[in-house]
Subunit: 353 residues, 2 copies
DNA sequence: CAACTGCGAAAAATCGATTTACTCATTTCG
DNA sequence: CGAAATGAGTAAATCGATTTTTCGCAGTTG
């Protein structure tokens, strides 16, 4: 079908129009599926389209409308399974509705987050799915508000007075973790996390603590929250263990913390679960193949993505009303890294099941 | 500065023009940094831009030029560290040159890969960075060729007669792995991988085998290559071990294979490195915190991205000449998962260092 | 003093669609 | 039978820039 059009200009709607012997407006209508076109003309258009290999230029098509058929997605990073899956899901959902997803990474920087958002605004995107670096009160959300953009906030958010929010039900999941750990007899538990992401970390911590204390007021819960980056967390943790503290279980409020905990256990020669138990928020593929397999809270990526897109498109189509704050339930996967406290000789024996 | 323009139409170049008392063409020139504008007029334009909060609409700006300032990136998936890092790097490099990166996932499907590419073509992207699902001979590359698109192929490619290619020097890295394993005394090694991605897997396998046999012609190298998906690989591996085969080391040609190997070791209660050694192609953050830490070949993501973008932009700017095929050197990280053959009692003892 | 050169800016064409307004026919109905 | 309604299609305006062409005016030159 396509012979000579190798590297030439692509056919435009006018090329199709003249070949079909109709006006460009008619071609536009046929492409849009309008029914008020004589079927003979429609056929001529189809033939011309086929012959020329014509496809609508989505950018040109978007020029006339105020909201372009583009959805912006801003994630704190692309390197983790969680956000990778999220982008994949969002992309699919956008495509389903004939939109293109343009994803950008804020690289864990609020300054960059705002810059990227401004660029999305320049592009006149119809809507934005923003996973803020910190929480819903950052400069990016303020920018969206000030410029009347439509958007949904996800992941590191709880609720907002201007935008719909969707996130994992961190508090409930954390409570479930607490139930399990306390139920197994753990009475001295260390919780670690990064405090920057105030919204979610707070929820996870509070959810965990409330439930643990409800079950047994005498449970001792230590907390190490580092600001900003992961390195201070590592050294705080090192100090903590160095002082001789020996909790029987550690609950990490985020993936990076789980890695830090594991590497500290390593340094000290501690094995899970005999020497210490470990549960992490956020699952990853490798966690089920290591020895021991690492217990983790699985976030409902697909549900979050689906709900976010539903809400976003409803707003794009003009839905009014106060913003909603959705929490999607997590699953807690108890794996071998969790055991009874004092389940084995410290720093000895094997860690096999 | 911005008071009332909350949700109204954004200011266009004409709004700026009339406020500055000049024509739209003059505004355009000022924004483009053309020097043939009287400085007084330029100042008036700057003031108007400032006052109105004007920003160029990149989409409208791109309409007139044949090549739009957009780079398309097509990755087989977004869920892995490798491609996540790759997209992040590519995004940064595109931005540096004033381009927008639009990334899409082909979800390991050649059909989808071509579809996505066609959509990029509709967008009139200036260039494409394509990481093919299989290799350089797939339908997507053919589509690019047939439509005169400019692009670079990366990762699962060796060389091409139409496009520049950039990938990790898999063969050299594999040879290095062979040197280490054979040097440590391993004489029965299993290599596992997925055959679909012919280009790279072939290179990795050949590089490994050639070097191993060069060092000792009596080395026994078994190979399990599964087609298409990871599940057949798992069952082949299970059969292989089930038949009583006991290589002293396994070299996985790709990340998913490493996970499969680990989980099979798990099932059988084998520990690295005492029961069996393991090296995987492709590094991941978790590999250094598990017990044992997993030896891996680290791909030079940044170099691949940088080189790919350099080549791509050179072509976009009209550079002629035959396509080049670059190989970027990898690093091999020997970690605890590799030890001397028969380094410990089988299925017994600890796996500590 | 008429013709020429240049500079800087404005007017108009362009990119590739969509959408509005308008023109003919042909029906429908009072 | 004539007026209004409907149907099918087109020309032109529009979206927001960029780029080409044209123009006015000042200063030179023959």
């Amino acid at each position: 079908m396509a012979h000579k059009e190798a590297k030439q200009r692509r056919p435009s709607i006018h090329d199709v129009a003249s070949r079909a012997g109709v006006s460009a407006a008619t071609v536009s209508k046929v492409m849009a599926g309008v029914t008020t076109v004589k079927s003979e003309n429609a056929q001529r258009v189809f033939d011309a389209v086929e012959h020329l290999g014509y496809r609508v230029d989505p950018l040109a098509s978007d020029m006339r409308r105020a909201k372009r058929r583009i959805i912006g997605a801003i994630m704190p990073e692309f390197e983790s399974e969680f956000f990778g899956q999220m982008v994949t899901e969002l992309e699919g959902l956008a495509e389903q509705r004939g939109y293109t997803l343009v994803a950008a990474s804020s690289r864990e920087s609020e300054a960059r987050e705002k810059e990227v958002l401004a660029r999305m605004h320049d592009w006149r995107v119809a809507g934005v799915v923003l996973a803020p670096v910190r929480n819903e009160h950052g400069p990016a959300a303020a920018f969206m508000k000030a410029n009347g953009m439509t958007g949904v906030l996800i992941d590191r958010v709880l609720s907002d007075d201007a935008f719909d929010t969707v996130s994992a039900d961190s508090a409930a999941a954390s409570a479930e973790v607490a139930t399990m750990l306390v139920g197994m007899g753990h009475r001295h538990i260390l919780v670690i996390g990064l405090a920057e992401q105030a919204a979610t970390v707070r929820a996870r911590l509070d959810g965990f603590r409330a439930q643990a204390l409800a079950l047994d007021p005498l449970v001792r819960i230590d907390v190490i929250l580092s600001e900003v980056s992961v390195d201070p967390l590592r050294s705080s943790l090192r100090d903590y263990f160095g002082k001789g503290e020996r909790p029987t279980a550690v609950y990490s409020l985020l993936l990076k913390g789980t890695l830090v905990a594991l590497s500290e256990f390593r340094r000290r020669g501690w094995h899970c679960p005999n020497d210490i138990s470990l549960v992490g928020f956020d699952d990853a593929e490798w966690m089920q193949v290591t020895w021991p397999a690492i217990a983790a809270v699985v976030q409902p990526v697909r549900q979050i993505a689906t709900e976010a897109m539903n809400l976003l498109f409803a707003r794009i189509e003009g839905e009014e009303g106060p913003p909603t704050a959705r929490l999607e339930p997590c699953r807690v996967l108890m794996r071998e890294s969790v055991g009874l406290p004092g389940g084995g000789p410290h720093s000895g024996g094997g860690d096999r099941q």
